[in-house]
């Protein structure tokens, strides 16, 4: 029964989407973190999805291949009163693009929803299969 395999496929996709949501949350939370435990400015993080075979018979799930740091340039703000400012009065701020992150968040939550619905449909089909011939 490859219907059972759909649970693995949808499960792996939900797992990947929730990890994406997690990075969005950490990016938004740290949108103004000019420093961190290691003294570096926070850099936005992005997940990289990769298709991965699940079981036999051509089912394809999703896994998170890597979490990479965003390579876009850091924001520079003029704030001479800030203790982190350089000698010209500029502070380097994280390269988090709030609009992009919000779009990412909505996309992740919609994809998560469609995977949940997929699981529900499959569950209904399997339960109906169990009542075959009754």
């Amino acid at each position: 029964m490859s219907l059972f395999n759909i649970f693995n496929v949808a499960g792996s996709a939900m797992n990947a989407q929730s990890q994406r949501l997690n990075t969005v949350a950490s990016n938004l939370a740290n949108a103004d973190s000019a420093t961190s435990a290691n003294g570096e400015v926070y850099k936005a993080k992005q997940v990289v999805f990769a298709a991965t075979p699940v079981g036999e018979n051509g089912a394809t799930g999703v896994n998170v291949a890597a979490v990479v740091e965003d390579q876009s340039p850091m924001k520079v703000v003029y704030d001479p009163k800030n203790p982190l400012a350089d000698d010209k009065g500029y502070v380097t701020m994280p390269n988090v693009n709030v609009v992009e992150e919000m779009v990412n968040m909505i996309s992740a939550s919609r994809s998560y929803q469609s995977n949940v619905e997929m699981m529900n449909t499959t569950k209904t089909l399997l339960l109906k299969t169990l009542t075959l011939g009754q």
Binding site: V9, A13, F49, A50, T122
Partner: protein, 135 residues
């Protein structure tokens, strides 16, 4: 007699198998809606069902070797790589992904209904057989 019973139930049994496999392929497409460079796939139901009804499986499918007359033929997978086709994207996307969410969701719902239909038919066939047996 048993052979005839099997013949009677075989069509919907095979149709269910193909529907089952197709559901899995469509699920993979929906799951990978956000994966870069993922190419959406599907199987041609008509060809797959014809192949499944012939019992020989499909071109390119792996079959089990039979060395004695009592050996069973085995069940070659329907959704084998040779049988899966790639979708032609209606609108291309920058990341090379060809999953069209609307089309996939529609196909998924359509396939689910057809699965239920085949299940229903099979169920009523079993019921009529039972009523023949029990009188």
């Amino acid at each position: 007699m048993l052979n005839r019973l099997d013949d009677m139930l075989n069509f919907h049994h095979q149709a269910l198998r193909v529907r089952d496999q197709r559901q899995q392929v469509l699920a993979s497409n929906i799951a990978n809606a956000d994966t870069p460079n993922f190419k959406a796939r599907d199987l041609d139901f008509k060809t797959a069902l014809q192949g499944a009804l012939k019992g020989a499986g499909t071109p390119g499918a792996v079959t089990v070797a039979t060395t004695a007359p009592g050996h069973m033929k085995g069940n070659p997978g329907i959704a084998s790589d040779a049988n899966l086709l790639y979708r032609t994207p209606a609108q291309g996307s920058v990341d090379g992904n060809t999953v069209d969410m609307d089309a996939e969701r529609a196909a998924f719902a359509d396939n689910a209904i057809h699965y239920e239909f085949n299940l229903n038919r099979l169920s009523s066939q079993i019921k009529s057989l039972l009523s023949v047996i029990q009188g």
